[in-house]
Symmetry: C2
Subunit: 221 residues, 2 copies
DNA sequence: GTCTATACCTCGATAGAC
DNA sequence: GTCTATCGAGGTATAGAC
């Protein structure tokens, strides 16, 4: 499992979203040790912060290189293009999100499974909201081939939520009219966290507990 | 009240998000009749479609002008900058969303009010998902001054949801532990619709009814 | 593997004719 | 109010020295 540890200082909320000043986002390089050499890792973590702050299109290769303490040209020794950098971030992020969900899906009763899954998925989007922002909001910038690769993982993620809801309906613990629509709603709750979350706002674990509770109330019989 | 009627053909979902091919988004000009002259209106609706499809940063003034059937230079007769175009769209969109919510907030019991508000707010994000995407996801591209102006409206929107939840807690019809957190969750449900909605997927009114039901289950005592 | 220098392109916005 | 033509800036990516 990839353990991401992203620390940012932002002041985002529903009302001041995306206009945080003095943004000093620093993605911890320690947890990306599998990305070698260190220069490639510095570029990757710098790109995560830049993409999360400004979006892919507004981020320049000069900005990414500068965050990594390099000249613009040095980037191309490690990555063939800016899009490739986005793809690697997006792929790692999707894999990590799926693995978080899979690990949480271990209980016996559907209610326990759903609680654990929503809690973990929500907390991940809060704790790693910089990566999550790239994962959820920069898909359109991927090449069609790279998009197809992450789309497979996205289908697996939504299938996991739909399955636990279906199991709950089958054993009578859940009452869900529109299975597909409710699946999307449960996913929305967690995913939208990436849009507004700021570390100063709430503890990821607490938020996960709250959202798991809300999701259960949404579906319980 | 501004009545937006946006018709787009897209194939977006949680899994194929942002990679729709053959996107032929056409924002109906009829409902923008207050934007004069017609050339300015064509530019505005073209910009809505372009910003919703590609994002503000990836959209060129040449693209906007071309959608309006003009040369790049003609844009600057009607708008002083690309950012100003975004601001006008964002401002209209926020005003429309707030007005939708205000109109819906007319019932007596908090449960009736919440149902109507979530239903209308959700249906608006589906029906007008192109504008909603610009409203919800392009805030960071606004100038600080223009952002401050729309932020006022955003605060009013979240305050309306928080108020109906507080009223429900006060009269015992709702049971809400974390008022602010639950307000954000209810808002998230509707707002995230703008990210994944496609007209082929579901009727806006049906989606609104489903989400109103889910929101009520989240908060009812 | 990093640098400086730069090629080549496209961008937002402007000038000036009609 | 629209056009053609273009400016100046800044973008991605490359060349070649070290």
């Amino acid at each position: 499992m990839l353990a991401f540890s992203v620390v940012t200082k932002r002041l985002l909320s529903f009302t001041n979203l995306g206009q945080g000043v003095n943004v000093s986002a620093v993605t911890s390089p320690l947890v990306w040790e599998h990305v070698q050499p260190p220069a490639a890792r510095r570029l990757l973590t710098g790109a995560i912060d830049a993409f999360a702050e400004r979006g892919f299109q507004a981020t320049t290769t000069r900005d990414i290189a500068s965050r990594a303490g390099m000249s613009p040209a040095a980037l191309y020794v490690h990555y063939p293009s800016k899009e490739r950098l986005l793809f690697e971030i997006s792929l790692y992020g999707h894999q990590a999100a799926l693995e978080i969900l899979t690990k949480a899906d271990s209980g016996a009763a559907p209610a326990d499974r759903l609680r654990a899954m929503v809690s973990a998925f929500t907390a991940w989007h809060a704790e790693h909201h910089t990566i999550a922002r790239v994962v959820q909001y920069e898909l359109a910038a991927l090449s069609p081939e790279h998009f197809a690769e992450v789309a497979t993982i996205r289908r697996a993620i939504s299938a996991m939520i739909e399955q636990v809801l279906a199991d709950g309906v089958a054993d009578g613990s859940f009452a869900v009219d529109d299975l597909h629509g409710t699946t999307l709603a449960v996913l929305s709750l967690s995913i939208d966290v990436a849009r507004w979350y700021s570390p100063s706002r709430q503890d990821p674990a607490e938020l996960g507990a709250l959202y798991a509770d809300l999701a259960l109330r949404m579906v319980q019989a």
